[in-house]
């Protein structure tokens, strides 16, 4: 039945005398301005929702319906943000957090994918590790922080390890799921064409599991961010988490909020990056 699924009915004119190649017809078709506007409708409403929330917040603060020292206000956050970014400290904090998070996340993705593919390919390994993985995944990951600090000290290494610890499990779990769901047809094709074991991993299982892996990356990024921020709270030795805590200890809500807004933007960007990767590299899974 799959065989009949097609993007465009024009492609149904099967045989060779058929029309010239019509790839990705939706990309070449001309949009009217009305279509464009309709396409923008949902992002516009999205922005409108945020604007309304900010306006209500600003009004409540300005009319002292809530205590501005307590709740701050969008305007005050903006002012605090300008001051923050005119000084160097925030860049150091962002740099430290970014570097440690980046290293940790990279290791999670590479190691998590490999571990997942290996476990997913073997019935025995899968049965052996299923319980362990489930237990580890159900326990809140930041709970292991004190143990990790005890083992690796308070420093960069510990924070990188907590990022890996937080981020690797969703990747392992998703990659296992992806490689176990490997289409029986793909297996038969790779067997029939004498694919060596190693090539089977990276030429068949890896691309076939890519949609699963990328949704694992999405989860992993979220959990990794939680991991590193909590670690910075805990250790109190720099980074974005520590920066927020430091501002709050001086009762500077606006300053803390400005940092939080920065983090929101970063998290959103990371998410969009993964979404872009999904569209770019795993788009076939949507239409198949």
């Amino acid at each position: 039945m799959n065989d009949t699924v097609m993007k465009n009915p024009a492609d149904r004119t099967a045989s060779r005398e058929g029309s010239p190649p019509q790839r990705n017809p939706e990309r070449t078709s001309v949009l009217t301005w009305w279509d464009r506007l309709r396409g923008l409708q949902s992002p516009l409403l999205n922005l409108a929702g945020i604007a309304i929330l900010l306006a209500v917040w600003q009004i409540c603060s300005a009319t002292h319906m809530v205590d501005p020292a307590f709740a701050s206000s969008p305007w005050k956050i903006l002012v605090a943000g300008r001051k923050l970014y005119s000084q160097g400290a925030i860049y150091t904090a962002l740099g430290q957090t970014g570097k440690e998070f980046g290293i940790g996340e990279l290791i999670s993705i590479v190691a998590g994918t490999i571990i997942g593919l290996v476990i997913g390919a073997s019935r025995v390994l899968y049965d052996m590790t299923r319980g362990i993985v489930d237990v580890l995944y159900s326990v809140p990951h930041v709970l292991f922080l004190p143990v990790i600090i005890f083992w690796f000290g308070i420093g960069s290494t510990s924070r990188i390890i907590i990022v890996i610890w937080s981020g690797i499990l969703p990747l392992v779990i998703n990659t296992i799921a992806g490689s176990r769901a490997l289409n029986a047809d793909y297996r038969r094709v790779s067997t029939a064409f004498c694919t060596p074991r190693f090539k089977r991993f990276y030429k068949v299982a890896l691309p076939a599991s890519l949609p699963f892996i990328l949704s694992g990356v999405r989860l992993s990024v979220g959990r990794g961010l939680i991991g590193i921020i909590v670690a910075e709270f805990f250790m109190g030795s720099g980074g974005v988490g520590f920066f927020v805590q430091f501002h709050m200890s001086q009762l500077d809500t606006s300053g803390a909020m400005a940092v939080i807004v920065t983090l929101c933007v970063v998290a959103l960007l990371l998410n969009s990056l993964v979404a872009w990767c999904e569209k770019r590299f795993a788009n076939w899974s949507i239409s198949d």
């Binding site: 465009n8 492609d11 793909y186 094709v189 067997t191 064409f193 691309p207 890519l210 198949d288």
Partner: protein
């Protein structure tokens, strides 16, 4: 065609095949005690009712299903697993959706470490032969069912196999597409410069298809499969599809095969079978 020099390529002796199924891993027989010799260069069709073990037999030759008992020999040596010189065209196209048409076609070459300028060029040539030169960079999900089967065929041709195995490659297509692909396969087979060196085993449940393409048709009985007829199609090659399909001998072969398939219908009269076969 190779009467003068009979070199048995494939030999099945008292061959028994089956699957282990369910929790109990109980053995279920699919093919029961088959004796068969296939010569190099033959195009041989296997027809039989659905579920009689055609796919099982083909996959055993491909090395995907183990031999339960008896012998299954290629060039005198038992089949132990898949081999590079045997390629299979699957029943469903089974293409990798993340690869382009071209990349799907050279998959076998790539994983066998044989992808180079020369084989790439050969791939292009094959894509021309099957009429996909315009779709080389397309993705499988942009293709129709018939085009996917062309890719499936091209992928098997690309590894230059000695034995080509077909598992009802046109079974799921609409009648018109199927007919044009049959004609093209006939053309490709007959125009292949090293055609006589390649052997084809073609599984089908379409009687006209088997008569059109083959040098020999093997008819299997209902499950478990046994050989009930072995019919040589002696029409000379190259055959021209439009003429051969209308030849009175073509119809004769079809009824002969149909009678072997449905012996119980023999009494029901030849005229009726003749009417049904033309619509098969």
């Amino acid at each position: 065609m190779s009467e003068s020099k009979r070199t048995p390529l494939l030999q099945a002796r008292n061959l028994r095949l089956g699957h282990r199924t369910g929790r109990s891993r109980e053995f279920v027989v699919a093919i029961d005690s088959i004796d068969l010799t296939i010569d190099t260069g033959e195009f041989i069709s296997v027809v039989g009712p659905s579920g009689c073990g055609k796919t099982t037999f083909l996959e055993a030759v491909a090395g995907l299903v183990p031999v339960a008992s008896g012998d299954l020999l290629v060039n005198g040596t038992p089949i132990k697993g898949p081999a590079r010189n045997r390629a299979i065209v699957f029943q469903s196209a089974s293409l990798f959706p993340w690869r382009t048409v071209e990349q799907n076609v050279w998959f076998g070459l790539e994983v066998q470490g044989r992808l180079n300028d020369e084989t790439r060029q050969r791939t292009q040539q094959i894509l021309h032969t099957v009429g996909l030169e315009k779709y080389m960079k397309a993705r499988p999900d942009e293709l129709s069912g018939g085009m996917r089967q062309r890719v499936n065929l091209a992928r098997a041709l690309a590894v230059s196999p000695d034995v080509l195995l077909f598992d009802e490659p046109f079974g799921a297509l609409d009648a018109m597409t199927r007919e044009s692909l049959q004609d093209e396969l006939l053309r490709i087979w007959q125009s292949d410069p090293d055609g006589p060196k390649t052997t084809a085993i073609f599984i089908t449940h379409d009687v006209t298809e088997s008569v059109l393409l083959s040098d020999r048709v093997i008819v299997l009985s209902r499950n478990p499969g046994r050989i009930v007829a072995d019919i040589a199609i002696t029409a000379p090659r190259p055959r021209i599809s439009s003429q051969w399909r209308l030849d009175p001998k073509f119809t004769e072969y079809c009824s002969e095969i149909l009678h072997a398939l449905h012996p119980e219908q023999k009494a029901a009269g030849r005229s009726m079978t003749a009417a049904t076969e033309s619509s098969v």
